[in-house]
């Protein structure tokens, strides 16, 4: 076996181990909670102050 091939085999093995590692770690309940934490804010009604700010900036530039 050449050194080159050994290196390649080792790389393939590493990739395989990494995949297995990922499979062994199921996404915990709290992980979806992070997403929900974020989405809950995204879904909030937007206070008028923000669009007013942009409108003011926009008309100031005219």
């Amino acid at each position: 076996m050449t050194n080159e091939k050994k290196t390649k085999d080792k790389q393939m093995k590493d990739i395989g181990m990494e995949r297995n590692e990922r499979r062994r770690q199921p996404s915990p309940d709290w992980a979806s909670g992070l997403r929900r934490l974020y989405d809950s804010v995204v879904d909030e009604p937007l206070p008028d102050a923000f669009s007013k700010l942009l409108d003011d900036l926009d008309s100031a530039g005219d």
């Binding site: 915990p28 309940d29 709290w30 992980a31 979806s32 909670g33 992070l34 997403r35 929900r36 934490l37 974020y38 989405d39 809950s40 804010v41 995204v42 879904d43 909030e44 937007l46 206070p47 102050a49 923000f50 669009s51 700010l53 942009l54 900036l57 926009d58 530039g61």
Partner: protein, 197 residues
Amino acid sequence: MLSSANAVSFKRELTGVIPHLRAFARGLCGRPDLADDLVQETLLKAWAAQERFEPGTSMRAWTFVILRNAYLTDMRRNRFRADYDETVAERILVAPPGQEGPMHLADLHRALLTLPPERREALLLVGAGGFSYEEAAEICECAVGTIKSRVGRARATLAAMIEQGAIPRRAVGDAIAHDAIMAELNESTNPSEPVSG
């Protein structure tokens, strides 16, 4: 000046990312009122820098860089404590009650706020905001491997806190979290305004 068509689309795109800016800011600093101040500051800075935005690139990523830098600057000036507003998330369950009882989004958010800021923002970007590691690395101006490592450590810390039931119950704006945050900031960060692209 931008052409009028570009100016219109800049404003439209900027308006479109405001809910995301609010979510990112809320995750970073905990308190809704301070988070919204930070978003306003971000909008002002983004507006002033609009000629540096390249049409066709991600407005969300571009503005997150601005928000992040504004946050770090404000942290240095001690404007933010990692306080937490209990009012809303307190009542929302993350998961249905299981063996270990229900966990509230508020608990998760408090746990998140105890993380060092670099790990917290990395986890927010990847785990909550849905950015790829590569995009998060660009936003945080660091290597992809660094982001992966920060996300991994943040997840491990949260998982350990949750498993051990070691989540701070209230008012995480305590001296410990704040001091840890300031210590990390002082030694490691150097915020700068985003360059276009």
